[in-house]
């Protein structure tokens, strides 16, 4: 008999697309044939969707700022001057 922990692990791995084809088929069969498995699947899927979509919204527009490369170039100049290296770094704009 499969306990609820195994059930959870298998559904979780299915949602992550980390099961072999035959295992995935078996879990899908269990989900369609059992209310308990189906509930587990739906709850986990809803939680995953919620997290993913919130993340999508929260990360909208997150990218390096216009001064990112300039700041980095300055840090690298400092680093190289400490290391007394003659390398010249150039960031194109």
């Amino acid at each position: 008999m499969v306990n609820s922990v195994d059930e959870f692990y298998q559904v979780s791995a299915l949602l992550d697309d980390e099961l072999r084809d035959s295992e995935a088929m078996e879990v899908k069969k269990k989900i369609s044939g059992s209310r308990r498995w189906k509930k587990q699947y739906e709850e986990l899927k809803a939680l995953g969707d919620l997290l993913r979509l919130w993340d999508e919204l929260d990360c909208r527009g997150i990218r390096a700022s216009a001064t990112f490369e300039l700041r980095l170039a300055a840090s690298l100049r400092n680093l190289r001057s400490r290391q007394s290296s003659p390398i010249i770094l150039f960031f194109p704009h």
Partner: protein
């Protein structure tokens, strides 16, 4: 004499070798390719834009310092992610907590109101209601993630937000595939229970 290959045509791993060989512009190309990825990667850990930029800067400096030791043993992006992840975890340790939002009670309507599909109903014009619920939901999620151990939090961020496979997560975290599987399922189980108990409390 043959002209050097344009940097834009060189794969990431070979760019590191070019840098090793003294072609400094290769590093500019790496930064150009990965600056947005790096900031977003860190943001997903710390959820603070300025901090994520600072950590990304430090990540590139570390990468530059590491150039002479670099060997192609894994994908470049795995190495960069590993550096960034370690820096983010250092930040967690320094701060102990990365939850910065004030957390109010759940809005009227509970989970129904916090349905992600409602949040994304109008992509082009985020209205005040949408922003309010995004903030509410974000606060709740951050609060719950914050209660997980750094290891569980990390696997969830890498899996759930970055979409890395278990194998890639194992490489980034320097763990075995089995360990990652166990951590992901345990982390998700804890997350689910905490979500349920939070909602019951409301």
């Amino acid at each position: 004499m043959a002209k050097p290959r344009p940097l834009s045509e060189i794969p990431d791993e070979e760019l590191m070798l070019e840098l090793q060989a003294g072609r400094e512009e290769a590093f500019n190309e790496i930064v150009n390719r990965y600056k947005d990825y790096s900031v977003r990667f860190c943001y997903r850990f710390v959820r603070d834009f300025e901090l994520s930029e600072d950590i990304s800067q430090e990540g590139f400096i570390r990468l530059y310092k590491y150039r002479d030791k670099y060997q192609i043993t894994a994908k470049f992006i795995t190495l960069l992610s590993k550096i960034l992840m370690n820096l983010c975890l250092d930040e967690f340790r320094k701060r102990k907590s990365y939850s910065t939002l004030e957390l109010d009670a759940m809005p009227e309507g509970g989970m129904d109101k916090l349905n992600a599909h409602n949040l994304l109903s109008d992509d082009s014009s985020p209205d005040p209601e949408q922003e309010y619920y995004t903030k509410e939901l974000g606060g709740k999620i951050k609060q719950i993630l914050n209660t997980l151990s750094p290891r569980y939090r990390t696997v969830l961020i890498l899996r759930q937000f970055h979409g890395y496979s278990y194998k890639e997560i194992a490489e980034i975290m320097g763990a075995s595939l089995n360990e990652v599987k166990i951590w992901i399922h345990r982390a998700r189980n804890q997350l689910k229970q905490k979500f349920n108990s939070q909602l019951k409390a409301v």
